[in-house]
């Protein structure tokens, strides 16, 4: 899923300083699962904003809403009923959701309430870690199911570099060396011979480097 974290309240207060009527819009998708922008976070953030504004002596009317998803047109539609009564929409969805709201609601600014961080997993309760950089050309079959683009700090294809020590990355002793993980996994699988092969230079055009990406399934189009 997409992992995000709430922006600092000070930053949000500065963003909404000019407004006294806003929508705080959560999303029931990824940001709910990673506790960054679901209904609970909408409630907590809205209360905090009201309190802060009260302390500033400035009124703030907030409409709290949590949509099924913000990355699908149909789930945004219900917001049309009341959107025009508000001066701004503070979205707690991921960056895609925030932008999609901004595309569909043209009359007021749409503001980010979270920082979108990465595609990751819930490693344990309250701990999320990155797994995928969506490069568009998966090579996990060659690397024991561990992504060097994501898990190696330098995205090396033929690591580990000289900075791998005791299984950790040179940049931070808390970070596992991605290539050590790949090495151990392939060893476990009896596939170490895979590491003898030089992985070729990557075609990054399937990644963001090829420009904004689009996928079309003609058979699904209406």
């Amino acid at each position: 899923m997409i992992i995000a974290e709430g922006k600092p309240i000070k930053e949000i207060l500065a963003m909404i300083d000019d407004y006294d009527k806003i929508i705080v819009a959560g999303c029931k998708g990824c940001v709910t699962v990673c506790s960054a922008g679901g209904q609970k976070e909408v409630e907590i953030l809205s209360s905090a904003l009201r309190l802060a504004r009260k302390a500033q002596g400035k009124a703030l009317d907030i409409k709290e809403v949590t949509l099924e998803r913000q990355c699908d047109t149909e789930y945004l539609e219900p917001m049309r009923e009341y959107a025009d009564q508000y001066q701004a929409i503070l979205s707690l969805a991921c960056g895609a959701g925030i932008q999609f709201v901004a595309e569909k609601f043209r009359k007021q600014p749409v503001l980010p309430g979270v920082n979108t961080q990465f595609i990751g997993v819930t490693e344990e309760q309250g701990v999320w870690t990155e797994r995928c950089q969506s490069c568009g050309n998966c090579l996990l079959h060659q690397t024991g199911g561990i992504c060097p683009v994501t898990r190696c700090s330098k995205s090396l294809f033929n690591g580990p570099c000289g900075g791998s020590k005791a299984g950790k990355c040179e940049i931070d002793p808390q970070i596992d060396c991605g290539w050590q993980l790949i090495y151990e996994r392939l060893k476990e699988l009896g596939l170490l011979a895979k590491l003898e092969v030089v992985l070729p230079i990557k075609d990054w055009s399937t990644s963001r480097d090829g420009g904004p990406r689009k996928r079309i399934r003609e058979d699904l189009k209406i």
Binding site: S153, F157, G162, P200
Partner: protein
């Protein structure tokens, strides 16, 4: 001859090579380069010019390399994958060759986190092994990546680094073999203090016949103090400094520490020369260039051969 550089001639003629290292200034002051270069001149066969090492902004390795060539000192330009994509790298290799550079050392590069630009975006479009392949493609097939023919091939003697002390240890020789398969001509290793471990590494390299395919230059760095020895052991990624070395530096005391560091370095060189498959040393006297002449002389490696 692939490039015809002095370093290549020394190595292919079977002579024991000595290379040095020069860190460019953190600015545009040429006098810093000239001062360091003059201390290295005549004592080494080629001088590595580091490429923004530890991710600290310094003068370009190619510019400094060209200055050294003008001074009559052969340079080995280091090129890291951190800062440039394949377009800039290939372009810079053309430019470097045109300026007279004939040796290149292909490196991944220290992560920008360590330097003075920790908020930079890194590139790593290629990795060091892929960079070796790229330089070889340009030199031997007269093509850039993608297959376009080039006008004038940059005949570079291709080097790479290897750290025998990084983990996983058993994998380091496999990685060395990958560099050989990619087309590397010579290897310079990380500074060696743990001689026994390096000997095990070289045994593994010999078992694969790698020592006959490429030239391995063993890295040495003289220690200035017990503090430096401890720092290397604890803080520098992938560095092993045995307790025995630390104890020797400690018992030398503050006043004799540098002398002991030089003694250790000379002993190390003598031991490294005995290892089958070691064709030279890479002497990295970090901010201690004036020690180079004495070390090389005491190790019996002067005068440097003219080839």
């Amino acid at each position: 001859m692939k490039a015809g550089s002095n370093l290549e001639k020394i190595l292919t003629s079977g002579k024991f090579a000595v290379t040095g290292e020069l860190g460019p200034p953190k600015g545009a002051d040429v006098s810093v380069i000239e001062r360091k270069a003059n201390l290295l001149k005549g004592n080494v066969d080629a001088v590595n010019v580091t490429d923004n090492q530890t991710a600290i902004v310094r003068m370009s390795s190619i510019a400094v390399g060209a200055i050294l060539q003008r001074m009559g000192i052969e340079a080995t330009m280091q090129m890291v994958c951190r800062d440039r994509n394949r377009i800039a790298m290939q372009s810079d290799i053309f430019g470097a060759y045109a300026l007279g550079l004939r040796n290149i050392l292909c490196l991944s590069g220290d992560h920008q986190k360590f330097g003075n630009q920790p908020t930079a975006k890194n590139v790593f479009d290629l990795d060091s092994i892929q960079l070796i392949q790229t330089v070889k493609l340009m030199r031997d097939e007269h093509k850039v990546l993608g297959g376009d023919e080039i006008e004038g091939a940059p005949a570079m003697f291709i080097g790479a680094a290897e750290n025998p002390f990084a983990d996983p240890f058993e994998y380091r020789v496999i990685r060395l073999a990958k560099k050989v398969a990619a087309g590397v001509d010579f290897i310079q290793t990380q500074c060696i203090y743990d001689m026994a471990k390096f000997e095990r590494f070289m045994q593994m390299a010999r078992d694969r016949g790698l020592h006959e395919k490429i030239h391995i230059l063993a890295g040495v760095t003289p220690l200035k103090s017990v503090g430096m020895a401890r720092y290397m052991k604890e803080k520098v990624a992938g560095m092993d400094v045995p307790e025995e070395i630390i104890a020797r530096m400690k018992s030398a005391g503050k006043e004799k520490a540098r002398e002991e560091g030089l003694n250790i370095c000379v002993e190390q060189i003598q031991r490294l020369r005995q290892i089958e498959g070691v064709h030279g040393i890479h002497l990295m006297a970090i901010e201690w260039e004036d020690a180079v002449h004495g070390i090389v002389e005491r190790a019996g490696l002067l005068p440097r051969p003219q080839v």
